[in-house]
């Protein structure tokens, strides 16, 4: 493969998804001139993932609408997009330059490297996971396979009650399948939302016909002939399934980074400017372990986010670092999860809260949980309540107060009781 003009190899971005795409786009917007190669191992034009478990699975949108940019855009901005090439080895010099080697034998020289290699689905280690009809959902190929099988099946078991499992379960239920959701823990989305929100989601999805089993102890996946036939639980019960979808979390793809000596610990460790331990390589997105960017976060606290918002915001910070105008990344992390007719929006991080306030308007189907640490509002989970979500996100960003006593009345608009810091 050719390198850039006149010896300048420019920037190589490995991983052409949310983080890699945003990094390339932001660099050009900041006037970065050297060549940019945006390389990924999937045989698709760079596309966004969130709809794979929602609108795309349900057939509400086509694959075309997942594509980030037209080819004309990439050409015009001199961003070389390489697909279907997997990097398996990197020779890197101390100044950050080097050569990346792909599985097909291609060599790509770079002056500077960005690792936006994301994460992969965690595999479930039980008997029967290799049976045809047992699927994971991380990328477009997974989603295409899942989508192709849905018309041929009736009974589905989803293993894992995190966001992806619930979203897929809700989509499949809406599409008329009989869905059983098996969650190993005592509540849904235990990692990301509080107990009130978990129980709200549980009630909602049960009422809509999903059979949710908590504290489920999956023993093995059983087959019939060469196909999956069900999932066996520790109590001996076998839940029938012609399709089993596993969504039990992700593992950050740190192998390349480790091989070139970058510090890794639940992700590639980066500083507030997205720089890895060698001081030049940047790492962004699901693969990065970064200092908690939330204003007022405990000193030394680190976090790895799996969200679009983080990939986008952190990519901008990395772009600034690359053009030599480093900025600190401070932001209010936010996340959304559409679960059939239910829209969950989360602002901030609820870890470390000592008070929750629940706002519920049953008639309108609105439900929010606000999280406080001392007097300060630090997060909110909002279901079909965008006004609450927006108000809390704005308050956290500006350091405004939302008095918990007044907020408890769901008829009160949060925006109207937000008090700016004096």
């Amino acid at each position: 493969m050719p390198t850039g003009p006149e010896g300048s190899a420019g920037l190589l971005i490995i991983g052409s998804s949310q983080a890699g795409v945003q990094l390339a786009v932001s660099l050009r917007a900041l006037g970065y001139e050297p060549p940019i190669t945006l390389l990924g191992d999937e045989n698709h034009r760079p596309y966004q993932r969130p709809a794979l478990s929602k609108e795309f699975l349900q057939g509400a949108i086509t694959k075309e609408s997942l594509i980030y940019r037209t080819q004309e855009y990439w050409d015009e901005h001199r961003i070389r997009v390489v697909r279907n090439e997997r990097i398996i080895r990197i020779d890197k010099r101390d100044d950050g330059s080097g050569v990346a080697h792909s599985m097909s034998g291609a060599e790509i020289a770079f002056d500077r490297l960005a690792l936006t290699v994301g994460a992969r689905a965690r595999r479930l280690l039980v008997e029967g996971v290799d049976l045809p009809g047992v699927l994971y959902l991380r990328n477009a190929d997974d989603a295409l396979e899942l989508k192709a099988r849905v018309p041929m099946i009736k009974d589905v078991v989803v293993i894992g009650g995190g966001f992806i499992g619930i979203e897929a379960a809700a989509s499949l239920n809406k599409m008329g399948r009989t869905v059983t959701l098996l969650e190993a823990g005592p509540r849904l989305v235990g990692r990301a939302v509080g107990a009130e929100t978990s129980s709200y989601l549980l009630d909602h999805h049960r009422q809509h016909g999903i059979d949710v089993v908590l504290d489920a102890d999956v023993r093995r996946i059983v087959g019939s002939g060469d196909r999956v036939a069900g999932v066996e639980l520790a109590d001996g019960r076998v839940v029938p399934a012609e399709l089993v979808l596993i969504g039990v979390g992700v593992i950050p793809n740190t192998e390349l980074a480790e091989s070139i000596g970058l510090e890794c610990d639940n992700g590639i460790r980066v500083d507030a400017h997205a720089l890895a331990s060698d001081g030049v390589t940047v790492a962004v997105g699901d693969v990065a372990n970064l200092p908690n960017p939330v204003p007022g976060a405990p000193e030394g606290d680190r976090i790895r986010f799996e969200s679009v918002n983080n990939a986008v915001e952190q990519a901008k910070v990395a772009a600034y670092a690359i053009v030599g105008r480093p900025e600190e990344y401070a932001g209010v992390p936010w996340f959304w999860s559409n679960q059939a007719d239910l829209k969950l929006q989360i602002a901030g991080l609820s870890a470390g809260h000592d008070l929750t306030v629940v706002r519920q308007d049953e008639a309108k189907g609105k439900y929010s949980v606000l999280y406080y640490r001392g007097d300060a509002i630090i997060a909110a989970d909002c279901v079909n309540a965008p006004l609450d979500f927006m108000a809390v996100k704005a308050a956290i960003a500006s350091g405004a107060a939302i008095p918990p006593g007044e907020a408890a009345d769901p008829a009160v608009q949060l925006k109207s009781i937000s008090r700016n810091p004096s």
């Binding site: 709809a51 037209t70 965008p386 927006m390």
Partner: protein
């Protein structure tokens, strides 16, 4: 082909040919029109695809749903009478839509 004209806050305009069935947001993002962030990719969760629709074009658009209306109250730049979230506007046959993007989306 339908066309969408995106004018930014400083008044400079860009005309983009659009495909029927795409949203006005998708058309902007795929072609790299600055001023539309669209973090949530059109799933009505982020309000970073806010536009002001030209008054002459506004009435002809299908009305917005309640969720869009609520989200607009949280847009980074105050909403106006002709505000819409453009991920909710579908390009139709013969459309010649004019929108202005706000100064910032975040």
């Amino acid at each position: 082909m339908p066309t969408i004209t995106y004018t930014d806050a400083t008044g400079s305009a860009r005309v983009v040919e659009a495909n029927v069935g795409d949203s006005v947001m998708e058309t902007a993002v795929r072609n790299g029109v600055p001023g539309i962030v669209a973090e949530c990719g059109g799933s009505l969760s982020c309000a970073t695809c806010h536009v002001f629709v030209d008054e002459a074009d506004f009435a002809a658009l299908p009305p917005m749903e309640e969720m869009e209306d609520e989200m607009l109250w949280g847009a980074a730049v105050e909403r106006q009478d002709t505000s819409r979230l453009c991920c909710q506007i579908k390009v139709t046959d013969g459309m010649d839509l004019h929108v202005t993007t706000p100064e910032t989306q975040v």
